[in-house]
């Protein structure tokens, strides 16, 4: 197998440059690459275009990068719960492109599967369709949406092996495997890094061929955004 390990988050993101486009896995604060986000904040790269379903909260996740004004543009489906985000957006410091969540996901899949474009009915007849090609198949209209083209994809998995194979846990899977497939360079941080052969080949969600760098993260906070419980 090919060894994809790097020492830590700092080493993994060392060559991320100002102005690059980066995908971040996660849904809300669930399954986000905490270590790499912190390393990017520390590194201070700027003018980033971030493709991520959400934009974190004020003091966690991509919110930390927004706070440092490292983000030029967010491509997301939902960006609530973030006051600094709102301030930057309203002041014109931050550009935001809102796209339907399924379109976001499928544009990742398209990139990972080498398909230049996909068709989806999401957004037909809405402002999302503006300037896009509409095509009718079997009596239904679809928008043609283009595959993403990201310099880096940064994802968080539960377990991974040194060959880059990844396994996700529960709904922290979300966008992580499809973004892992979509990056020109894909960085995976994992809670537990194991030797090749430990993971069952049938259980691997992301084959190592899609992963260029992997490391075991540390001090995962795994913050809960909406703690909701039942009483009995």
């Amino acid at each position: 197998m090919i060894d994809k390990t790097v020492k830590n988050a700092e080493a993994a993101v060392a060559d991320v440059q100002d102005g690059m486009t980066i995908m971040f896995g996660g849904f809300g604060l669930c399954g986000i690459p905490e270590n790499c986000i912190n390393a990017l904040v520390k590194k201070g790269v700027k003018n980033l275009t971030c493709i991520s379903n959400n934009a974190g909260v004020d003091d966690f996740g991509i919110g930390l990068m927004l706070h440092q004004r490292q983000v030029k543009k967010m491509i997301s489906s939902y960006v609530g719960e973030n006051a600094e985000f709102e301030r930057q957006l309203l002041s014109g410091e931050l550009e935001v492109e809102l796209i339907p969540q399924g379109t976001l996901a499928t544009r990742c899949l398209a990139a990972g599967y080498g398909m230049p474009a996909i068709f989806t009915p999401a957004g037909v007849g809405t402002e999302v369709a503006e300037g896009k090609e509409i095509r009718n198949f079997n009596g239904k209209d679809y928008l043609m949406e283009m595959a993403f083209d990201a310099d880096f994809a940064i994802v968080k998995a539960w377990k991974g092996d040194t060959a880059g194979n990844l396994v996700f846990r529960s709904t922290s899977r979300n966008f992580n495997p499809i973004m892992a497939m979509a990056g020109k360079i894909t960085i995976a941080e994992v809670e537990e890094l194991v030797e090749p052969g430990v993971l069952n080949p049938d259980h691997i969600h992301t084959p190592g061929i899609y992963v260029h760098r992997i490391f075991q993260g540390e001090r995962y906070e795994k913050r809960i955004e909406q703690r909701t419980v039942r009483t009995q």
Binding site: N53, Y78, V124, N174
Partner: protein, 218 residues
């Protein structure tokens, strides 16, 4: 007149045994509480779960297990987890039988607006545009009029659209209405104690009233 739980209760009657259902945030989430006992209904959460269970007990919250509203949830025996592409794949392929979601406005031809108010901070459409563009059956749960007292059932939506010609049924605090294929809100049921006249008053779009309108049974 119904409260939020009343709307959820009435919508729950629309759910068929053996179906897959996606519930939006707000009133739709409450619908889960009123699915008849004994019914086998599987809830899909578009962040990647089939078989959403109830909220966890205190102390059993799992940060890796949330629903599309980012709330901590649980799985059930037979649940399956998948990535976001497959989640919207199954939505797009119409494997989900019913979508229940909220709206700011619905038009008499079934257009829906629920994601953007010009001039206000826009949080995004999330998965709503995908759901309304693909669902076989869409029921809207909403208040009949907005806070300013204006009808939300219109001839044409004034707000930016989420989807076109997609809403099949609307349940409000006042009534159950279906959207006719040829256009128009057909009044199906009145909420307890609500008169047809009150519903007329609260509906700006074309309202179709045929014969006696029964009161809901909830």
């Amino acid at each position: 007149m119904l409260d939020k739980n009343g709307i959820a209760k009435r919508i729950a009657q629309e759910i068929q045994d053996g179906s897959y259902v996606n519930l939006g945030i707000g009133i739709p989430t409450l619908v889960a509480n009123y699915i008849p006992t004994g019914f086998n209904v599987v809830l899909q959460s578009e962040n990647g779960l089939l078989g959403m269970g109830p909220f966890p007990l205190e102390g059993e919250e799992d940060p890796d297990l949330i629903n599309a509203g980012k709330q901590t949830i649980t799985t059930l025996p037979g649940s399956a987890v998948f990535d976001s592409a497959m989640s919207f794949g199954m939505i797009r392929a119409q494997k989900v039988d019913l979508t229940i979601l909220g709206a700011m406005e619905v038009s008499e031809n079934g257009d829906i607006a629920n994601w953007k108010i010009p001039g206000k901070m826009v949080k995004g459409m999330g998965g709503a545009m995908d759901l309304v563009a693909s669902a076989k059956n869409i029921i809207v749960a909403m208040q009949h009029v907005n806070k300013a007292g204006e009808s939300k059932l219109l001839t044409q939506c004034s707000l930016p659209l989420t989807g076109v010609r997609c809403v099949k049924k609307i349940v409000t605090e006042l009534a159950v209405l279906s959207v006719l294929p040829e256009g128009g809100f057909k009044l199906e049921e009145r909420a307890p104690g609500v008169s047809v006249e009150e519903i007329k008053q609260a509906t700006a779009g074309k309202l179709i009233i045929e014969g006696e309108i029964p009161e809901m049974k909830i």
